[in-house]
């Protein structure tokens, strides 16, 4: 297993190289450039040409890419054109922090809500509740995020007017009681993005828990427990519940990559200053260095998440042997 992980990690630089070069070239082949955008409304072509030359933006693409790569390897991701005077790293880490907080909350919520729903469905298998829960969750999963957000906004922000239409104000809002006691309550800006992140994700967890709980329910030790005269509640709590959780770990990686994927759309549509909306802004203003850094981060996160999913899966399920030859 260790060797497999190392082998997989060894691929990471190559993947990043391919992704970054493709992104680099695509960005530069596209029309428009950051110098034009940054110039504002007075754009003298001669002046812009001079600036491009000063910044090395008129060099051949492989030369520019080599320069970028050399700097990036040393940890220098360049400077933003839309936030001058700050390095890309300085700008991108606060954005990653916002995305990470939100993604982490979403991840926890998917499990915290998905597991009880799955257990409930298993418990009530054979009644109408089971298909109702799973059917609803499947329906929610089938809606693309881009389609899901407008009705959520319409409902909660416009119709009921109880949630802000977007923005970000940290995880907690602090309520002061008598000006002394601080009570953290979740910030209202959190709810809509969390819904958008988690609604499509519940079903993966819930279904797996349901199947596994149903399976565990028929196993010998559960039958024995029942035969011993344990109350049904005790049987469920002590025997079924813990044993049906194991396979759930395997959807961890899947849920995480879903969240990373969703970040781009959800952050842009809900105005969350995370790395997704940062990348979007950078693309629209051709902020080359930011595009590159954000792409590299997204690609790395993707590769690592998938690897993590595989590792966990291999640990949990002895039938999966990572790195075993395929024949």
């Amino acid at each position: 297993m260790g060797a497999y992980v190392i082998r997989r990690l060894a691929w990471l630089p190559l993947i990043l190289f391919i992704v970054s070069f493709a992104t680099f070239a695509l960005a530069r082949f596209g029309p428009g450039d950051p110098v034009t955008v940054a110039a504002g409304q007075i754009r003298d072509p001669e002046v812009l040409a001079q600036i491009r030359q000063d910044k090395g933006l008129d060099d051949p693409i492989p030369v520019q890419y080599a320069r970028w790569l050399g700097d990036a390897v040393r940890g220098d991701f360049g400077e933003s054109f839309i936030q001058r005077g700050f390095t890309v790293s300085e700008l991108i880490f606060p954005k990653m922090w916002v995305s990470a907080q939100l993604g982490f909350l979403a991840l926890v919520m998917i499990f915290v809500v998905g597991i009880p729903l799955g257990l409930l469905a298993a418990r009530l298998a054979g009644t109408w509740v089971d298909p109702a829960i799973i059917g609803t969750l499947l329906f929610l999963q089938a809606i693309p995020v881009l389609v899901l957000i407008p009705p959520l906004l319409w409902l909660f922000a416009l119709q009921f007017n109880i949630l802000p239409v977007g923005g970000w104000d940290g995880i907690f809002e602090i309520w002061w009681i008598a000006g002394v006691i601080a009570v953290p309550i979740p910030d209202p800006h959190l709810y809509l993005p969390l819904l958008a992140f988690t609604l499509p994700g519940f079903v993966g967890v819930a279904r797996l828990v349901r199947i596994s709980a149903l399976e565990v329910n028929t196993l010998d030790y559960v039958r024995t427990a029942r035969a011993k005269g344990l109350s049904e509640a005790n049987v469920q709590w002590r025997h079924v519940f813990p044993n049906s959780l194991l396979p759930v770990i395997t959807v961890f990686g899947l849920a995480l990559s879903g969240i990373i994927e969703g970040a781009l759309f959800i952050e842009v549509l809900l105005g969350i200053p995370g790395i997704g909306s940062f990348l979007f802004e950078a693309v629209t203003s051709r902020d080359y260095d930011v595009i590159m850094a954000a792409t590299v981060i997204f690609a790395t996160a993707f590769v690592l998440t998938n690897l993590l999913a595989e590792i966990i899966y291999g640990l949990v399920d002895p039938r999966v042997r990572l790195g075993a030859s395929r024949n």
Binding site: V37, G40, R43, P94, F172, L246, G271, P273, T284, L315
Partner: protein, 556 residues
């Protein structure tokens, strides 16, 4: 794999999760608590904010009051790089130059106490004020001014705005392009005297000096600190005391400001976004812009917004531009026909609900040279059809494509109305193409667009900034390819005309020629709609960026 091992894995995963959750919440709690501590204290809740009084305690009355505004991060606080209005709004408060604009957009001395113009109109001699100091107390000398102007045009800086504002100074262009090592047009006479020589007697040069590109920066700070723009040492009425990206930016009154102590002590800009009006209603902001969704409510004097609503005309113009080198717009009859068949007044009042004002020409009300007549082509479908009939394209109209900035699947609301009206009044079909901002700019600069919809924000209050700069046949910013010797002659004459009245009259004539030739169809002038809290007195939205905080008082 044994049951035990599985359990061990599960437990360790859980343990890690618990640690992470615990750690995160601890960090969040700490930082969150911190943030809000500041917030409550300053909003006057539990904590008391004791002003530790400015150093200049013997001045008449210390600045007081605090205003909370919604804005976004400046792209840069380096005055020599900034070319956008958001950055400029902060920069004009923090920095200053030889000259500035007052509330009424008059050009008034700032760091300069006075200036003299030579008889030939080429040499400007500025005498600096004795009491002009940087925020850190150091005196501003002619050397500082010369350094700043040199820096603005330097190769190392690669400023996109340097030549637009300072290019008239003799030798500036050569210096920028690396053809010369110094700028002969900038001469330090003594500590308090600096002389600028320009290439032709251009009266609008003074107006250009009010733009941030000509502002003075602190050489010591710039050269010693790479990150100096994060806490710049300027000469302006306010100093930056805090800037957290995406969160807040705080300006505090410069108690020893040479043009008079500001009455407002502190301005807090909240940068995090979200609905400004909602936050205004929650009493988190003192001023909030009104969007088209809320304009009816704001205008209704009996609504909760009504008493607080104010509107201020802006020096911005939206226009349609036709590329005169591409058919069918190489025929002025077609341009005029299109311009006369759209009802801009109705669109401004109905489609935009009066958020915008119909453009009556190129110059906005309040601009020098503005006349109170409607110089623009009238809405007259009859005359438009007659124009079209005279055109060489009357029977064989090529495909017309208008480009606008946008990402949506459908055209902007006014463009949809135009298309409908062109179809109805002229029987002409027009296609709309939406393009992202960066692609749009580069296509516009290369005169690739057959027709486009855009806007212009005045940079300085002189007609040259829009009439000449965007339409002279030799101008680099002429995106329509428009060329008319009569027009060129008028604006060339206006460039160097020393008598202000004659000069503005020349621009008016040029404007009339331009509107008749119709490379542009002016659409609307911008209007800024805001609600302002009772405690704020003297709030105004100047038609273009000028320093304004120091005129405002807040009773809080």
């Amino acid at each position: 794999m044994s049951q035990n091992r599985l359990l061990a894995i599960l437990l360790s995963v859980l343990a890690v999760l618990v640690l992470v959750v615990g750690g995160l919440s601890a960090i969040l709690l700490l930082s969150g608590g911190d943030d809000d501590n500041g917030g409550t204290a300053s909003s006057g809740g539990g904590g008391t904010t004791t002003e530790t009084g400015g150093g200049g305690g013997n001045l008449a009355e210390p600045s007081s009051g605090r205003i909370r505004l919604a804005s976004s991060d400046p792209i840069t606080l380096d005055p020599h790089l900034a070319g956008d209005a958001t950055s400029a709004e902060y920069i004009v408060e923090i920095f200053g130059g030889l000259l500035t604009l007052d509330q009424d957009l008059n050009i008034v001395p700032d760091l300069a106490e006075s200036f003299e113009v030579s008889a030939d109109g080429l040499t400007y001699t500025f005498t600096l004020r004795e009491d002009a100091v940087f925020h850190d107390g150091r005196s501003v000398t002619a050397e500082d001014v010369a350094y700043s102007l040199n820096r603005a045009a330097s190769r190392e800086l690669s400023s996109p705005t340097a030549l637009a504002y300072l290019g008239d100074i003799v030798g500036m262009r050569e210096y920028f392009f690396g053809l010369a090592d110094s700028i002969p047009g900038i001469q330090v006479v003594d500590d308090r005297t600096i002389q600028l020589t320009i290439d032709a007697p251009k009266p609008y040069f003074l107006a250009k000096l009010t733009y941030p590109t000509a502002f003075v920066v602190d050489r010591q700070q710039v050269e010693s600190n790479r990150n100096w723009t994060r806490r710049p040492n300027g000469t302006g009425p306010y100093k930056l005391t805090e800037w957290r990206l995406g969160e807040r930016l705080v300006l505090e009154a410069n108690q020893s400001y040479h043009l008079g102590q500001p009455s407002l002590r502190e301005a807090v800009y909240l940068l995090s976004g979200g609905s400004a009006l909602t936050r205004w209603e929650n009493d988190e902001l003192d001023v909030a812009p009104i969007s088209v969704n809320d304009i009816d409510r704001a205008r209704d004097p009996n609504s909760d917004l009504g008493p607080y609503y104010e509107a201020f005309p802006q020096f911005t113009i939206s226009y349609l531009a036709f590329n005169v080198n591409q058919p069918p717009f190489d025929d002025p009859h077609v341009r005029r026909a299109l311009g006369m068949s759209i009802d801009r007044e109705r669109i401004a009042n109905v489609t935009f609900d009066g958020m915008l004002q119909k453009a009556t020409g190129i110059l906005m009300p309040g601009m020098p040279g503005f006349v109170d007549d409607d110089l623009s082509l009238p809405f007259d479908p009859e005359a438009a059809r007659a124009e079209l009939a005279q055109s060489q394209y009357a029977d064989n109209m090529p495909v017309i494509q208008i480009t606008e900035v946008g990402a949506g699947a459908e055209a902007s609301v006014d463009m949809q109305a135009f298309i409908e009206q062109w179809r109805e009044h002229l029987g002409v079909e027009v296609q709309v193409r939406q393009s992202d901002f960066a692609s749009f700019l580069s296509a516009q600069d290369q005169q690739q667009l057959q027709a486009f919809s855009a806007a212009w924000i005045m940079d300085y209050p002189d007609p040259e900034d829009v009439i000449d700069l965007l339409h002279h046949s030799g101008s680099q910013l002429n995106a329509t390819g428009y060329s008319n010797p009569e027009f060129d002659a008028l604006v060339e004459q206006a460039r160097v005309e020393q008598d202000p009245t004659t000069r503005l009259d020349l621009y008016r004539q040029a404007e009339v020629v331009l509107l008749e030739d119709a490379p542009w169809v002016p659409l609307y002038f911008g209007v800024s709609h805001v609600v302002v809290k009772d405690q704020v007195q003297g709030w105004f939205e100047p038609p273009m960026v000028v320093p304004r905080l120091r005129y405002i008082t807040v009773n809080r």
